[in-house]
């Protein structure tokens, strides 16, 4: 049973983390060239409108007042107005989040399923030449920068072979009426394949290596002998019993992985013109659309912090024995 006090403590910590990240971001964005007014009132506005925006956002007030206003607005879900789109940041971001999660979750699920299986497999064939070959392949896949992999796959399978679309999330003109039609259609899956494969090739290494290392720890000769004494086959011992023990830390790493995967997500969305949060962040950063960049970043950070919280909670259940490749990313 989970300790309630511990849970509350962790929750509080998550709150504090969020608070500090938001605060950090507030002060960082006040450093932009042109001062805080450039943040909310772009130069091309007529002077009177500009003044009005400045007043509305309290930009002529002392810094601490601006900060309080910013925090108050944030709590109410008000992230300001996008310069570029001229619409509330929150409404612009909402649709992007779903698109990003659709891609991210697909990739992570695939890479974890695959990684756990292959990791157990590598643990099973340890010491063989095949294991070495597979390890090298895994390491190469993990060493290839994810955007290079994306470009490569795009070039081969879309540009050259024409098997998959050149980018985007659905076909031209496709307008689905609901989320279900958008995300559960052949058309969507067709667009999903290349970005997901690019991401998965990169992500799989982590659970795979973790799983393999855990397997090596679990499967001692003693362990196998005991199991064999119970009349179990070697294969069954490895894939069912040992794997069950080895899998736990991998599951914990899953939550952390979601946080780490965001960098890859940003790159792949750019390569495949995916209308997600990552690409929006890149675009708004190049456009100096500060409120939008700030909003997208806040959301990504929130996602990471929440996932770290989940991981922490899982840690209390499971023995965290995370190896090198498993953690540093």
């Amino acid at each position: 049973m989970l300790n309630r006090k511990y849970l509350l403590q962790r929750l509080a910590l998550m709150g504090i983390s969020l608070f500090i990240v938001v605060t950090l971001l507030f002060f960082l964005f006040r450093q932009i060239p042109g001062g805080p007014t450039a943040m909310m009132a772009p130069g091309a506005l007529p002077e009177d409108v500009r003044q009005q925006v400045i007043e509305e956002h309290g930009l002529n007030e002392p810094l601490w007042r601006q900060y309080v206003l910013f925090m108050t607005n944030l709590v109410q879900g008000d992230l300001g107005y996008s310069f570029y789109y001229g619409q509330p940041v929150s409404s612009m971001i909402a649709s992007r989040v779903v698109n990003t999660l659709a891609l991210m979750i697909s990739a992570i699920l695939i890479s974890y399923t695959l990684g756990i299986y292959l990791g157990a497999h590598l643990g099973w064939i340890r010491g063989t030449t095949l294991e070495r070959v597979e390890m090298v392949i895994v390491l190469i896949a993990r060493s290839t920068p994810v955007f290079f992999m994306g470009l490569f796959l795009l070039y081969i399978f879309s540009f050259q072979l024409g098997w998959f679309p050149v980018g985007g999330m659905r076909s031209v003109g496709a307008s689905a009426d609901g989320a279900f039609q958008t995300f559960f259609s052949i058309d969507f899956f067709h667009h999903l394949v290349l970005p997901v494969v690019s991401l998965s090739l990169f992500y799989t290494g982590l659970p795979l290596l973790l799983m393999r290392n855990n397997m090596l720890e679990v499967i001692t000769e003693e362990y196998i002998e005991t199991a064999q004494a119970k009349g179990l086959s070697r294969r069954r011992i490895v894939f069912v019993h040992a794997a069950r023990n080895a899998i736990l830390p991998v599951v914990t790493a899953f939550a952390v992985a979601i946080g780490f995967s965001i960098g890859g997500q940003v790159l792949i969305e750019t390569v495949f013109s995916w209308p997600g949060l990552g690409r929006e962040m890149v675009d708004s950063a190049t456009r100096n659309d500060y409120p939008m960049a700030q909003g997208t970043f806040l959301l990504l950070a929130t996602l990471v912090i929440t996932m770290n919280f989940v991981a922490d909670i899982l840690y209390t259940y499971l023995d965290p024995r995370v190896s090198v490749d498993g953690e540093s990313e």
């Binding site: 772009p42 130069g43 649709s95 540009f159 050149v166 980018g167 003109g173 013109s273 209308p275 100096n288």
Partner: protein, 572 residues
């Protein structure tokens, strides 16, 4: 700000880890060898004459247009070298730099802009270069010029006006407010499996002025009649009062397609009446327009004199930046003078009113807008309303607003009831992709019907189109020129010889731009009005031929000198 950052970086570099011969950022890649120029060199020049500041050259990102990036890179490198000044690229995204330009926060700025709008060169002559011009962001001011420009707006005799426009071009050439890189050829690729090849409009002038025909004429070859095109974003603004909607091509295309104006241009580039049934210029300051009663807004309401009055009066009252020069300045009042008739009273004669103004001003549905302005409390600031799926644009144009997934696609459906220009296709989609490589593939695979614009590698596009029988392309000189605009408010840019010397260096590079960077798709020249606009183009604008030598000569004659290290010093 930058200064302090730089010094911090220097310190970081000094105290940071040094790895053998690996140098710190900025020094990576070694030095370019500089050529020797025959420049007048003096010793012991006073420090205060030294032109020490770093000049910033604003240009769009390489991602936006690799070709433009390459031309600017070459200019900055060469000009800095020849003139002996510290000259850097300052790269940014379009919307960022446009803001900075409007604030006058630049030394040099390069982009591509059209030579005329709505069939009239007034956007060059007045908008940009009259000292009160709407797009005069560089501090251009010259009394003689202002006078010529004003006269040209009031001269109803075409030949006399041509004479004035010629004079204005010559003066601009002499004063060198802008330095032309090249006249661009627009490359338009299309996929003949999607659009009917015979229906594709190839006239570069039409593309440049975004005339409806190029979008409605293409007949579909596919079954669903859906034609998609690239556009670097599915636009960011649809509000026709917003300056950004009327300015950049990405926004004005959908806006012009969803709305109607008094006049448009035909495939042969001749002015035709559109909403206006008859335009009568009673005298220099009175224009009477008969309105057609066949137009209907997309919500079923008829377009009437009321809507015309509302549109023009709202512009007059609220003065949106987008219409400052073409409507607000010349127009004194508008009144209804018949069932279907309005009369415009101008403050003073303004020749482009029946061309530019009537072409540019969309007639908006008064009933729909009043409701929105009430709702959003924007009666004084109509340009602040934003449009989207929950508040679609309603116009009367050949295309209707369908849906807009920002960053993904913008969909318009055909208005087959349009009295003049019912489109041949069913659906028009604007959809951005993140690289021109992907765009080219999308064209080949039939995802795009045609490429609205092409900023990628010209040779690559041409080769691909030659290789693939189902692709076609037109390449014609359009009305655009790529040029550098200078901010002439600060020394030494306020000095005419300095700017002339600048152009002498650039003019020498023009063949390289055309042949190497644009792969032969373009022409060289020195006037702000491209030769495509035959009637107005003055071919004899001073171009300061002779390259670096001429540049050095001009500067030396004006009293500039150099020290032994090749640094430029201002005249005494």
């Amino acid at each position: 700000m930058t200064e302090s950052r730089r010094s911090i970086l220097k310190k970081m570099g000094a105290t940071g880890v040094s790895l053998g011969t690996v140098s710190i950022a900025g020094c990576f890649g070694g030095e370019q060898e500089t050529e020797e120029y025959d420049r007048p060199v003096e010793e012991d020049l006073p420090e205060e004459r030294r032109i020490e500041r770093t000049f910033e050259h604003m240009a769009y990102t390489e991602e936006y247009s690799p070709n433009r990036y390459a031309t600017n890179e070459l200019v900055v490198e060469t000009v800095g070298d020849v003139l002996g000044i510290d000259y850097e690229m300052d790269i940014g995204e379009a919307s960022v730099l446009d803001d900075r330009e409007a604030e006058g926060d630049f030394d040099f700025f390069t982009y591509t802009w059209e030579s005329e709008q709505g069939g009239d060169p007034d956007n060059v002559i007045t908008f940009r270069y009259h000292s009160d011009g709407q797009r005069n962001f560089g501090g251009y001011s010259n009394e003689e010029y202002d006078e010529i420009a004003e006269q040209s707006r009031q001269e109803y005799d075409e030949d006399a006006r041509q004479e004035l426009i010629y004079e204005a071009q010559e003066l601009i050439g002499e004063l060198r407010w802008e330095s032309q890189y090249l006249y661009n050829e627009g490359l338009y690729g299309y996929n003949t499996d999607v659009v009917d090849e015979d229906s594709v409009i190839v006239d570069g002038r039409l593309r440049g002025t975004w005339v409806t025909w190029t979008e409605i004429e293409p007949g579909p070859e596919n079954d669903d009649g859906m034609v998609a095109t690239n556009n670097w974003d599915a636009t960011n603004q649809l509000n026709p009062f917003d300056q950004m909607t009327i300015g950049p091509a990405r926004n004005v295309t959908p806006t012009l397609l969803m709305h109607d104006t008094f006049i448009r241009y035909t495939e042969e580039y001749e002015q035709v009446n559109w909403i206006a049934e008859d335009i009568e210029t009673v005298d220099d300051t009175t224009i009477v327009v008969e309105i057609s009663d066949e137009f209907e807004f997309h919500d079923g309401e008829p377009l009437t004199v009321e809507d015309v009055l509302w549109t023009y009066e709202t512009i007059l009252e609220t003065e949106p930046a987008a219409y400052l020069t073409s409507v607000t300045d010349p127009l004194e009042s508008i009144e209804q003078t018949g069932d279907n008739e309005v009369t415009f009273h101008l403050e003073e004669p303004y020749v482009p009113f029946t061309t530019l103004t009537f072409w540019q001003t969309p007639i908006l549905p008064a009933h729909y807008w009043e409701e929105i302005l009430d709702e959003t409390d924007n009666h004084d600031t109509p340009w602040e309303v934003s449009f989207g799926d929950d508040r679609p644009i309603v116009g009367s144009g050949p295309f209707e607003y369908e849906s807009w997934d920002q960053g993904e696609q913008f969909i318009q459906t055909a208005n087959h009831d349009h009295p003049i220009a019912p489109p041949n296709i069913e659906t028009r989609v604007q959809r951005p992709l993140s690289s021109s490589a992907a765009e080219l593939e999308a064209l080949e695979q039939g995802e795009y019907g045609y490429l609205d614009y092409w900023f990628g590698n010209n040779e690559e596009l041409a080769d691909r189109i030659e290789d693939e029988p189902h692709l076609g392309m037109s390449a014609e000189l359009d009305n655009m020129r790529e040029a550098t605009w200078m901010n002439v408010e600060e020394p030494p840019l306020d000095d005419v010889p300095f700017r002339q010397a600048y152009h002498a260096v650039v003019a020498d590079l023009q063949p390289v731009f055309v042949e190497e960077i644009y792969d032969g798709y373009g022409e060289t020249g020195h006037s702000p009005i491209t030769p495509m606009i035959e009637f107005w183009h003055n071919p004899d604008v001073p171009g300061f031929e002779g390259g670096p030598e001429t540049a050095i000569e001009i500067l030396a004659d004006a009293g500039y000198v150099w020290d032994e290290d090749g640094n430029l010093y201002a005249p005494e």
